[in-house]
């Protein structure tokens, strides 16, 4: 068999478009080629390069769970040339996908532990993949707590799923919006994510904390977790540096001697301590 061209994307059909929040959409993608669909496998935490033909490629995580077969989902915000190109596509149209790339959340190692998910804004998608993965294999884990915050009520993504999670008896769900971001019907918390984490004060005992969000949120959440007794090997996050190739060659996501696209995007805080913080 001749050598594969890494840069040649899979062709995907947009099966479903969900408007999540202003400028934020989720696409459900199906492989156009059945053999490719059959052979495709990924794990929670991995990402891909999504193509809008005519505009280019953009990097986002796979937001659906590997336990849900037959499709993948991505959630993105319309911010640049590629994402606006993607956002203008309709159900039934074709886009490209390369992947899966990067490392995975060590879900096998987490069996029998409590899981604490802390997410902010548009960083819920990478975590959604893990959350559904965990919920679909619910018996593998003990308590599951989700703390999710966004700027305003409008900016919360996966609104129907947030409800589904909070309705489940086996999940503790806390949603919050930044002060001033609430509306008249808001019943959740009001406050920045780190503050709410401190308030909810989950136990560090036998718990893994997965933190995803803007750098500023992560920066202020880590000390809170530390105060709650979390050790560095109990805290996980994902990094999102600028990427072009996704396979450790183009040089953009090089941090220290690591490539975020190959050695990440998933890092435990213990691993993060080994690479220079100013470079991510």
């Amino acid at each position: 068999m001749s050598e594969q061209n890494t840069y040649l994307p899979y062709l995907m059909t947009i099966e479903k478009v969900i408007k999540e929040a202003p400028g934020v959409k989720t696409y459900r993608l199906k492989f156009q080629d059945e053999a490719e669909a059959e052979a495709f496998e990924f794990k929670a935490g991995q990402f891909g390069e999504y193509s809008a033909f005519g505009e280019g490629e953009s990097t986002f995580c796979i937001a659906s769970s590997p336990t849900r077969k037959g499709y993948i989902e991505c959630t993105f915000r319309d911010t640049g040339r590629v994402t606006s190109g993607l956002a203008s596509l309709e159900e039934g149209s074709t886009m490209g996908f390369r992947g899966p790339y990067g490392n995975v959340f060590p879900m096998e190692e987490w069996k029998g532990k409590n899981l604490l998910f802390i997410a902010g804004g548009i960083a819920l998608p990478p975590m959604r993949c893990v959350i559904w993965n965990a919920l679909d294999l619910r018996e593998n884990f003990k308590d599951i707590t989700i703390i999710y915050g966004a700027k305003t009520v409008n900016d919360l993504v996966y609104k129907s799923e947030l409800k589904e999670w909070s309705d489940r008896p086996d999940v503790k769900m806390v949603t919050t919006v930044d002060p001033g971001g609430e509306n008249a019907d808001w019943k959740g918390e009001i406050g920045f994510v780190p503050t709410i984490v401190e308030k909810v004060a989950p136990s560090a005992e036998n718990t893994i904390a997965i933190v995803c969000g803007p750098p500023i949120m992560i920066k202020f959440t880590f000390p809170v977790l530390e105060k709650l007794g979390f050790k560095d090997d109990q805290i996980y996050t994902t990094l999102e540096n600028r990427m072009k190739c996704g396979v450790g060659k183009c040089g953009r996501c090089n941090v220290g001697k690591l490539y975020i696209c190959k050695d990440g995007p998933v890092f435990s805080k213990e691993e993060l301590n080994l690479i220079p913080a100013e470079e991510y």
Partner: protein, 336 residues
């Protein structure tokens, strides 16, 4: 490996035979006041008196801009046309310096360390390298400090060492080299027992690579980066003339319903190279970008890919508009 002798007229004959075989031949040509690799048909076109070409031969196996694939949108569907390795012509690189040929190893290490790179490998497979050992060097050259030498045969299929009589010692180093010899077998005669080393330039080792590596291991937070990089303008000249720099960008060339995805050279020295869409830039200052360049070549690559990302060709020092001299900077780091 086999060593032969070729006479001056033999070289001419052989060169003509290579051209006649239909292979594309690139050799250093002096034009516009610069010596650079260009397609040539006659040996007389090849430049003589020069120390180094301005650009490396990197472009022959990693073009400045290359089509990764092309696409066409038809009735809401997309048809892809893959890169065709057969579209790459058989190429012979003539009169390559050993430091350039040695650059293929780090370059391929980057392109193939995990997933393999179909395009790079296609170019590599179709390229034969005839290197000439160096009888001269200048103050920017330092191959001997980075595991190379003026007679280094790494990356070459054939190496010629020119002799005073106009002929050359021919080292045939690979099957590709043998195939080139086979184009004109009669001009290659028995080796005359000349020692190659006698004709190589003497280039003292300027720094100890392991020492540099050990220093760099602890240098991330050093003030040296800011001190050295103050005058750096943040252009990509050093990266683009470098035989091993491989950072690239992927871009779209769209024309209505048709288009192609293009990979083109990029440089870690550019201010916007690492800029996130959010506006956050992990390497905001030139000093951070300069650090990245040096650490990547002399620390990360040896650690990760077991190959140093520098062949000592000195091109970056020669090309830099503000005299960011890599040898000077590395030597000063080694002394720290």
């Amino acid at each position: 490996m086999e060593t032969k002798y070729i006479s001056q007229s033999g070289i001419e004959q052989w060169f003509d035979a290579i051209v006649t075989s239909g292979k594309r031949v690139f050799a250093p040509v002096n034009s516009r006041g610069q010596v650079d690799f260009k397609p040539v048909k006659k040996l007389s076109e090849v430049a003589d008196e020069y120390i180094q070409t301005t650009q490396s031969i990197k472009a022959s196996v990693y073009p400045k801009a290359e089509v990764l694939f092309s696409y066409e949108k038809v009735n809401g569907k997309v048809n892809l046309t893959d890169f065709d390795p057969e579209s790459v012509p058989e190429t012979v690189l003539w009169k390559v310096h050993p430091c350039d040929a040695a650059g293929f190893k780090p370059l391929s290490a980057i392109f193939n360390w995990d997933t393999t790179d179909k395009l790079h490998n296609a170019h590599l497979a179709k390229t034969s390298v005839i290197s000439f050992s160096c009888s001269a060097a200048d103050e920017s050259c330092f191959c001997t400090s980075v595991n190379g030498s003026p007679g280094n045969t790494a990356g070459s299929d054939i190496q010629l060492t020119m002799l005073p009589d106009g002929g050359a010692i021919v080292e045939i180093l690979s099957p590709k080299g043998e195939a080139l010899v086979a184009l004109s077998p009669s001009v290659f005669v028995a080796d005359k027992g000349e020692k190659k080393e006698k004709y190589l330039v003497d280039l003292p080792v300027r720094f100890n690579l392991e020492e540099v590596n050990a220093k760099l291991n602890k240098a991330f937070n050093s003030t040296v980066w800011k001190e050295q990089s103050e005058r750096c303008l943040g252009c990509g000249a050093c990266a683009f003339v470098c035989p091993t720099c491989a950072c690239f960008d992927i871009q779209e060339d769209a024309h209505g319903s048709k288009g192609r995805r293009i990979r083109c050279w990029d440089a870690c020295g550019f201010a916007l190279f690492t800029l996130h869409t959010s506006g956050h830039n992990p390497r905001e200052h030139q000093s951070q970008r300069w650090r990245q360049r040096i650490l990547h070549k002399f620390f990360y690559m040896p650690e990760r890919l077991s190959v140093v990302g520098c062949t000592g060709c000195g091109r970056c020092s020669r090309a830099c508009p503000v005299d960011m001299n890599i040898l000077e900077h590395i030597t000063s780091i080694a002394k720290q």
